[in-house]
Structures are given as C-alpha cells and as structure tokens.
C-alpha cells in the first residue's frame, strides 16, 4: 500500500493498485466535533478530483466531503452511515468513506505527505 497522502480539504487517501481509499483526517474530525450524519457517494458513480463526494454533519454544522482524485466509486463504508460516531473514534482507520478505481495516479502527486499536512493543519487552524 502507498504512503498516506492528504488534501487541503482534510481528506486522506491511500492507494493499493488502482484502488484508492479515502476518508477524512483526525484533524478534520476535531474541528467538526461530534459527527452525527454521513452521506456517501453512490456505488458505480463517477467523481471528479476536488468535487463533492459526500457530506458529514456534526451537532454544529454540515460540511461537504471532497474527493482528492477522480475515479469510479467501487465501495462505500455503510458502517459510518449507520453509526457516524465511528468517524470520530477511528477517522484514519476503520472509518474510511469510499473506495475509488482511479483514472490517473498522477493526481496524487500534488497532495501533501503527513509532515506537510500536519504543518498545514496547524497553520490553518490557528
């Protein structure tokens, strides 16, 4: 599996072959607070890099979830729809959002590595 990459919209992505797994970062969940609703893209649909691919809602507000790369949705994580609190508990593990069959792996090149993202997250939240 590839190195974890991060987007400026606070998504994480890993790549295994041509299938990417995408979720939201721990930092994102800390900013959102208690997550109480999640909506995922439909299996079989196509999503475009930087386009919306879902919604999360905390007790406070709704936020769009974006996809950092383009591709076809091949799997979604129903368990976070049934129990959205899992997103707060394990955002960068079991609470992944969706899997994409990606078109162009070079789309990952512009994303941040962990060190860059941590710095970015720290700068943008203060």
């Amino acid at each position: 599996m590839s190195e974890v990459k991060f987007s400026k919209e606070h998504e994480w992505i890993t790549l295994e072959g041509d299938v990417a797994t995408i979720g939201i970062t721990k930092h994102a969940t800390e900013m959102l607070g208690d997550i109480v609703f999640a909506e995922l893209p439909e299996k079989g649909s196509n999503v475009e890099k930087d386009g919306t691919a879902g919604v999360v809602e905390s007790t406070k507000a709704a936020s769009d979830v974006y996809t950092p790369v383009s591709g076809e949705v091949v799997d979604t994580n129903q368990s976070i729809v049934d129990d959205p609190s899992k997103i707060n508990e394990d955002p960068e593990g079991g609470a992944w959002f969706f899997k994409l069959k990606i078109k162009d792996s070079s789309e990952l090149d512009s994303l941040m590595n962990k060190e860059q993202y941590d710095k970015f997250a720290k700068e943008t939240s203060s």
Binding site: V36, F37, V55, T59
Partner: protein, 367 residues
C-alpha cells in the same frame, strides 16, 4: 466593535473551551469532551452554564410600576407573588416579538432576564415606555450562572443551603461568602435546575465550588441541543420581530385574565389571531432516518407546495436522532402530518410531532 468577555472567560480557557462569538461575546461553544457528552452529562448529572452575557435588568418602583408593566407585558403581574417568575415577551403593537424573557417579582420591583443580543435595545424600549419614573439598571456587575440536571439540587444545596425548598419558577435571596445571591429554580434545558445571579467578584470561586462538587462546565452547543429537545424557543430562530406569541404557539405564556380585556402592547393582534387562527404555527418536526434539516430548510407538502421553513434543526443526543422546529401553514400543523424537507436539493420525508421531544423533569410542589 471589540468582543466582550464574561467574568468567567479565564475559567473557560483553563477548561479548554472552544470559543465562538455569540451576541458580541466570546462564549464557549464546547469544552474538551464535546457537545454530545456535555449534553448527556447535563441530562444525567449536572451541567454549569455561563449565561452572564444575558441581561439582568432590575426595575424598582412602587405599586404604579406593576400597573405600568401590565401595559407592556401580557401577564397578571398584580397577582404575581413576590419571588415568583413568569416567562413572557416584549412586543410591538403588531405583537411582533422584540425579545423573550423571564420576569421575577422581587422586593420593591422586578428582575427581568433578557437575551444577550437584545438587551440593549430592550433597555431602550422599556426606558421609553416607562419614562424616568422608575429606577432601572442593566446590571453589568453581576454574572449569571445556570446549573441544570438531576444532580443540581443536591450539588447547589451543599453550597447554598435551602435552595432545595424552592419550587420551579420561584426564587429568593441566599447568602454565599458574605454576599447576597439571587437564585431561581429555572433554566432552559428541560431539566430541573437553577439560575444564580452573583456579583462578578464571586462568580469564579462559586463555579469552582460547583465543579468541586461534581458539576461540569457545558458550552452553548449543548445548551442549544438541550433546549431544542425540550421544545423551547431561541430568539433569532423561532422568535423574532415578525413572529407573534400566537404563531409561536406560546399562548400558554399569556395570563388568561389578560386575554379577556387586553390593554397590553400587541393585545389587539393577539386577540384577533386567537379568534381567527394564525396563518403559520410553530411545530416540532422529526425527519425520518438520520437526516439533519438545519435552519432555513424549506418545508413542502406532498404536492410540492412550500408550506413553511425550519427555524432550528440538529441531532438530539437524548432522542438519538434528528429533531427540528419550524413554522408551517396552519392546515399542516397537526401532529403526524407528513411533510417533505428539501436538503441539498433533494426532498426527504418528515413528520410533524408533538413538543417537547424530550420529557421534562421539573420539580413542582416541594413545599
């Protein structure tokens, strides 16, 4: 304009509060545990709320003060006993609501608790209506602390002996650390609890005492989910200058005797609406499934006609599901009416339901 801070701001900081601006004040939206845990702690134990941003208006005067206030508020103030409180509203001639408030008869006058965002304007309106005959002051030297939840009576009574003998919506002066506090048994969470008016220099120590006894600080986020579960209105959401108490389904807050003869500001409109019915009415709404419909969500009937709008919507932690309040055309206001909510361009089913979403635990008839 510079942001204002309450006396307890440093205490919030040291308890890891996340702050938001609310009505010009820097207020804690939540602490480290988060809104859901804070909400549940209040329902099962005891939560402390800094509500010092709210206005504490003292008006002193003789018997004529009661007469003057009856021209303003739809209350039977002549028969209100000393230390008893009533929920009411300040209205314009069209019965539009300037603010909702709690008024308590105290020795030689009244204490009125006002919303933070409205208090300065309320003071101006009341000053104009009452003239210079009565001594009026919006007291900035006092903090206001609420303690809410089933363990609150035991905790507060261990610090201020005797508060357990207060009935719901009554108050009294008590001694604390050589100072007089005014304590009322009231609140805005749907739980038993108290609100304590205390001089600023004692406020921090007092809250630290409450924390030592097991109560915890709760932010505005949980205050909002708690009041919404309890079906209580929030000014600026359910209530504003374009809504009347009849539309807001708050007829219960208008004294019966005052409905017979009117004589208060807005009474004509209220009596007309009570006779003819209001066009729109505040209702409780439960979306089906887990969908959250926030403020300004449009409400439709099954033939695609817009019939109203949501005024508050969130996830109710104790209900364990989404809840909302809003206004709908009267013909759609009956419980169990099926409606549709438009969220992110799609329509989702929901039902009109009875309020509150969460049953209250108020204490009545202690003595």
């Amino acid at each position: 304009m510079e942001i204002k801070r309450t006396t307890l701001n440093k205490l919030h900081q040291s308890n890891k509060a996340k702050f938001v601006e609310f009505a010009g004040y820097e207020m804690p939206i939540q602490y480290s545990k988060g809104i859901i845990e804070e909400h549940k702690f209040t329902r099962t134990h005891s939560g402390i709320f800094d509500v010092s941003h709210m206005g504490q208006l003292f008006i002193f005067g003789d018997k004529s003060l009661t007469e003057e206030l009856e021209k303003i508020f739809p209350l039977d103030l002549k028969n209100l006993k000393q230390n008893c409180s009533k929920y009411s509203f300040l209205m314009n001639e069209d019965a539009g609501i300037y603010d909702d408030l709690i008024i308590t008869k105290i020795e030689e006058g009244y204490l009125i608790i006002l919303n933070a965002a409205c208090k300065d304007k309320d003071f101006e309106i009341l000053s104009n209506l009452l003239g210079s005959k009565f001594k009026m002051s919006l007291d900035n030297n006092r903090s206001l602390i609420a303690i809410q939840g089933p363990k609150s009576v035991e905790i507060l009574n261990s610090i201020i002996n005797g508060v357990d003998r207060l009935n719901f919506m009554t108050g009294n002066w008590f001694d604390y650390d050589n100072q007089k506090l005014f304590v009322t048994r009231s609140g805005y969470t749907g739980e038993d609890g108290f609100e304590i008016s205390i001089s600023n220099d004692k406020a921090e120590k007092f809250v630290e005492n409450l924390i030592e006894k097991g109560a915890q600080l709760i932010g505005l986020g949980a205050r909002d989910t708690l009041r919404l579960e309890a079906g209580l209105c929030l000014y600026g959401h359910e209530l504003d200058i374009n809504k009347t108490p009849v539309e807001a389904n708050l007829r219960w807050a208008i004294s019966k005797s005052r409905l017979l003869n009117g004589g208060f500001i807005g009474s004509k409109k209220i009596m007309n609406q009570l006779q003819d019915g209001a066009n729109q009415i505040r209702v409780g709404i439960k979306p089906e499934g887990r969908l959250i419909a926030r403020e300004k969500t449009k409400i439709y009937n099954d033939t695609d006609k817009q019939i109203g709008e949501i005024t508050s919507g969130t996830f109710g932690p104790s209900v364990n599901g989404p809840i909302a309040m809003g206004y709908v055309d009267r013909e759609f206001s009956n419980v169990d009416t099926k409606i549709l909510l438009e969220v992110r361009g799609k329509k989702y089913p929901a039902n009109i339901c009875a309020l509150p979403f969460y049953k209250k635990n108020y204490v009545k008839g202690v003595n």
